[in-house]
């Protein structure tokens, strides 16, 4: 963990390390998460899930469950009044499985009862007759036309080809590899939970929900309920982390259906085990990549084939795939490329959004390749990357020109300049050794290695999608109140939004109104986009209000509003001596404005994968130092040095939090985090066996923030949420390779991969 120097600014404006307004409540346990909600007369809802990865449903008998005293409703597919399916990109996922179950854990029925235990008994009493089928779990097999199609929409979710420059170009040397990325889970700590209140007439519902995107949820829910969107109101519940796992519908529709059926408030919450079945995961992927380069190390062409296992339903697979293949080159110049990407449906759990969104997979491959290239050319890991480093104005393999600030070279050089950690002290604590508290290693068993990873990540949504954000600012009596539907999932928008208002309006008191669907969409809290998008919306709304304030003050005091500006907490006349505090100037008046922030338009890709499909990009470099117990294959990540292209630091404390958290998550993928599958069955749906890094696994992070304000970004700040977790994974693996000499083509790296 790092310590951030507290900037002693008098006010919590932009640039200050303002503290989270919900921080104390979260640390002391009084924060109300979605799972803490409770209502008079409420019933509990629970879900019956398929034990099979693939089966035909012959019959469902719910009568035994309905006979249990305390059970109010049992619902199956036939009880869905509206659209039977939902989905973020393609509505191919049933609210309840009816004919087939296509993954282990797929919902088949829900019950409402007076107590969780009654729910459990009711679920056990439902009789489902399955004809168990052989699951198709290998994406290579699944995508063949000759293979049984497990869904009416077919098994190939998306194929995209990229042809860029001269597909026949060659260099002096080639390096290639086959890389495998395992299935990571977002593993947020606050489990899925919601509470639905039916309107008295039964024609509407209010859902309090931990989600990443209220409006998208609302659209999907309303369609399934056959209600107009206005009759479905969503309110953000307390969210305990998201990382992409709350983009898709989980219990939203079920909870509303039960509320409408029973006429009572319904509470639903998943257990940790159920959570592993209740949300999408990071796509496991297989990537073949081949680099052609000149002897001096300059990349000439990249060829790649990427196969992403989308699991049973589409979720965001098409977009994840596009992110993966359009980032094939990494943060490097590359004039020629031939890439094919496939997102494939299988009977594995559905995969979708997770921090890094497709780029994590591509990055593990391209960074492993860069090291192979360095070796082939006799260059260092740093030099090969500097030699090829992308600059503003360079092209992606999609033909898109990178107009964003692109300080790749600076990221690498500043990371390189961070001092290496001291070598292990003679009196080093054994707890700091690989193996930690297991006391497995002695000093002489430990070998140190250093590795590099550098990445490029697109920010915001792509391929023509207008993921705008809306905010309203109301200024009255010296207090600004902000209204937006932005999901606070832990990223800190509740800290940032008031900072923006204080900076723009010269107020100190900022009130945040409830995040709900009573205002326009904020878009999703994902794709590193909320500081840029909702931040842009809040900034825009505040600026409009400030104009109104200047007009008002101008009129009152006979000054041309154009001469007015805000200085600290005063409105001042820039050419005179007039000065009035914002608080005084707004006594008895109310100024209110709403603003929608849209990013610039993007395009679809053509059949050769060419097009300006992304909005903007951010870059980061990671250098990992690891200690490895080679004989036992155990790893301790000692230090991560990083320099990240952040545009502008708006809150130093929040920023370092994103970097450290992302690094821990990338470390998890590198050495321990994996959902282990066996023929379509999840083997480790618990925190006993799905291992997340502990304090003894977390490295010391030394971070440099590279501040080159991004002209496109409303506040000059780039999204910083995803980059930290992307290239740290290959950096750690490269460091393990350096220590062990093993090829290590798969993440997570398991002890046996190192020592056997």
């Amino acid at each position: 963990m790092s310590t951030v120097k507290q900037d002693v600014r008098a006010r919590d404006i932009l640039g200050a390390s303002a503290l989270r307004p919900d921080g104390v409540a979260k640390v002391t346990g009084s924060f109300s998460f979605s799972s803490d909600m409770w209502a008079e007369n409420m019933l509990w809802g629970a879900t019956l899930r398929s034990p099979h990865p693939y089966a035909r449903i012959i019959s469902i008998d719910t009568t035994p469950a309905l006979l249990i005293s305390g059970v109010s409703a049992v619902l199956t597919a036939k009880d869905v009044p509206g659209k039977a399916t939902y989905g973020l990109i393609s509505a191919d996922q049933p609210v309840f499985a009816s004919e087939f179950v296509r993954y282990m854990g797929e919902p088949v029925a829900v019950v409402a009862a007076d107590h969780p235990e009654t729910c459990r008994r009711a679920l056990a009493a439902i009789i489902v007759n399955y004809e168990v089928l052989t699951p198709i779990v290998d994406p290579e097999l699944a995508m063949l036309a000759t293979t049984e199609q497990i869904h009416p929409d077919g098994n190939l979710i998306r194929h995209q080809h990229i042809k860029h420059g001269d597909p026949h170009a060659t260099g002096d040397i080639t390096v290639e590899g086959n890389y495998t990325i395992g299935m990571q889970d977002q593993a947020f700590l606050g489990l899925e939970a919601a509470m639905a209140f039916p309107d008295s007439g039964g024609n509407g519902v209010e859902l309090h929900i931990a989600t990443q995107w209220l409006h998208e949820d609302r659209g999907q829910i309303a369609a399934c309920l056959a209600l107009p969107e206005d009759n479905v109101r969503l309110v953000l519940g307390g969210v305990g982390g998201a990382f992409g796992a709350r983009e898709d519908i989980s219990l939203q529709v079920h909870c509303c259906l039960l509320a409408l059926r029973t006429g009572k408030p319904i509470k639903m919450q998943y257990s940790r085990e159920e959570s592993f079945f209740g949300h999408v995961h990071r796509h496991p992927a297989k990537i073949w990549m081949k680099h052609h380069a000149n002897k001096d190390g300059k990349i000439v062409k990249i060829e790649s084939r990427m196969v992403f296992d989308g699991g049973a339903y589409t979720s965001t697979s098409p977009a994840v795939l596009i992110n993966g293949i359009t980032h094939t080159q990494g943060p490097y110049q590359c004039d020629n490329a031939v890439v094919d990407g496939y997102a494939v449906r299988t009977n594995n759990p559905p995969c979708g959004a997770m921090r890094g969104f497709g780029v994590v997979q591509a990055c593990f491959a391209h960074e492993s390749q860069m090291d192979l290239l360095a070796e082939a050319c006799g260059l260092s890991a740093v030099d090969i990357r500097l030699k090829n480093a992308m600059r503003t104005g360079d092209k992606l393999v999609t033909g898109q020109i990178v107009e964003s600030v692109a300080p790749v070279e600076r990221c690498i050089r500043e990371t390189d300049a961070i001092p290496m950690p001291d070598s292990m002290a003679n009196d080093a604590d054994v707890l700091e050794f690989p193996g930690g508290s297991g006391r497995t290693a002695d000093r002489h068993n430990i070998v140190r290695g250093v590795g590099w990873g550098v990445s490029i990540k697109n920010l915001m949504y792509s391929e023509g999608f207008d993921d705008y954000a809306t905010a309203r600012c109301t200024l009255s009596n010296g207090v600004a109140s902000l209204k937006f539907a932005t999901s606070e999932v832990g990223q800190g928008f509740v800290t940032l939004a008031p900072q923006i208002a204080r900076s723009v309006l010269g107020v100190d008191d900022v009130v945040l109104e409830t995040s709900d669907t009573q205002i326009g969409s904020a878009g999703s809290t994902s794709a590193s986009r909320q500081t840029w998008m909702s931040g842009g919306a809040v900034d825009g709304a505040c600026r409009l209000v400030r104009e109104r304030l200047f007009e008002h003050v101008g009129k009152q005091h006979n000054i041309d509003p154009i001469r007015l500006m805000v200085e600290n907490t005063d409105v001042i006349d820039t050419v005179g001596t007039f000065r009035i505090s914002v608080a005084d100037a707004t006594q008895g008046i109310t100024l209110s404005e709403t603003f929608e922030h849209h990013h610039r338009k993007t395009e679809d890709l053509d059949e050769n994968g060419q097009g300006n499909c992304h909005v903007a990009f951010a870059f980061v470099a990671h250098r990992a130092v690891v200690d490895v117990d080679i004989e036992l294959g155990l790893v301790k990540v000692v230090q991560i040095a990083t320099a990240q292209d952040v545009g502008r630091v708006l809150n130093p404390l929040s920023a370092i939090g994103q970097l450290e958290g992302g690094i821990a998550q990338g470390l998890g993928l590198a050495v321990m985090e994996e959902i282990i599958m066996d023929n379509g069955k999840v083997k480790n749906p618990s925190f006993t066996d799905y291992l997340l890094p502990t304090a003894l696994d977390a490295p010391r992070v030394v971070a440099v923030m590279i501040e080159e304000p991004e002209p496109q970004a409303p506040l000059g700040a780039k999204g910083i949420g995803e980059p930290p977790c992307i290239s740290v994974t290959p950096a750690i693996v490269a460091a393990i390779r350096a220590a062990t000499g093993k090829a290590l083509l798969r993440v997570p790296v398991r002890p046996q991969d190192i020592c056997l």
Partner: protein, 282 residues
């Protein structure tokens, strides 16, 4: 559900006689997981936490130590218990997190009897005696007879485990555990090695590589034929390596989602080699 909260072993045994189907709960760190997963739905429970007699330990006149079944790991990690049974302290330190070590106990480890239980290899290496008491009888059972299989032991339903007795050996002892993260992890493979100079014995017990904890008797005998354990000379690297190889041969690991049989076998060999090297260089 009823919960009895006895204050003495006697009261606990009475409660157990009155409600023979009752489940005993000590720290609850295994039991509550079972209950939360709905694997277990006890109608009656007897909470042993306030039974002070179970939370004490005593040094006996015959150079042995008796540790109550309710002594939490936290207490074994440091202080006098650490001096007396260093391997137990090291094993205790590997258990879970500080919260788990504040609650979890050897009684519970023995009650659960998982091959991955970290207290058990130490008890096997030390040839511990398990004390069992029922309303009308008490008996002592060797740990080797107590653990009979994966999560199976020889305790009768009417008995309470009151404690374990271990000898205070004269010689180096240590514990090492492999897991896929650096703390709070279920053992993938573990080993406890203990030396007793006066009897020239070396004992090694393995965890998580068989249905029960495994004492590697053949390797022990082989090693005591190669070296004089009572002497404090550094062990020959080749001998240590061969010891590891022999220990690995005696393991009976399986493949599961936590690891592979091959890795587990390899790992216990490495641990044995390292532990004997640590022993001889200390």
């Amino acid at each position: 559900m009823t919960v009895a909260i006895p204050l003495s072993i006697r009261e606990a045994l009475d409660a157990l006689s009155n409600t023979p189907d009752a489940r005993l709960i000590q720290g609850g760190t295994d039991m509550m997981v079972e209950i939360n997963f709905n694997h277990l739905k006890p109608h009656n429970m007897i909470a042993l936490r306030r039974v002070q007699e179970l939370r004490t330990w005593t040094k006996n006149a015959d150079n042995t130590l008796t540790i109550g079944s309710g002594v939490p790991y936290q207490e074994m990690e440091t202080g006098e218990l650490k001096q007396l049974v260093p391997a137990l302290a090291e094993a205790a330190r590997t258990v879970g997190s500080p919260q788990i070590r504040a609650a979890g106990t050897l009684g519970g480890n023995l009650g659960t009897c998982s091959p991955a239980g970290d207290g058990l290899p130490v008890l096997f290496a030390l040839d511990a005696i398990v004390h069992l008491q029922s309303a009308d009888a008490s008996r002592k059972l060797s740990i080797h007879d107590f653990m009979v299989g994966v999560k199976r032991n020889a305790r009768n339903a009417n008995e309470i485990i009151t404690g374990v007795t271990v000898p205070l050996l004269d010689g180096w002892q240590g514990y090492a555990k492999v897991g896929v993260r650096n703390a709070m992890v279920i053992s993938v493979a573990s080993a406890c090695l203990a030396i007793d100079k006066p009897t020239r014995s070396v004992r090694i017990a393995l965890g998580a590589v068989g249905p029960t904890i495994i004492r590697c008797r053949d390797a022990e005998v082989w090693l005591s034929e190669q070296i004089d354990i009572s002497a404090s000379t550094a062990i020959d690297a080749a001998v240590a390596k061969e010891f590891g190889r022999r220990v690995a041969l005696e393991s009976k690991p399986i493949d599961d989602h936590r690891s592979t049989a091959e890795y587990r076998r390899h790992a216990v060999g490495v641990l044995a080699q390292r532990l004997i090297t640590r022993a001889s260089s200390s």
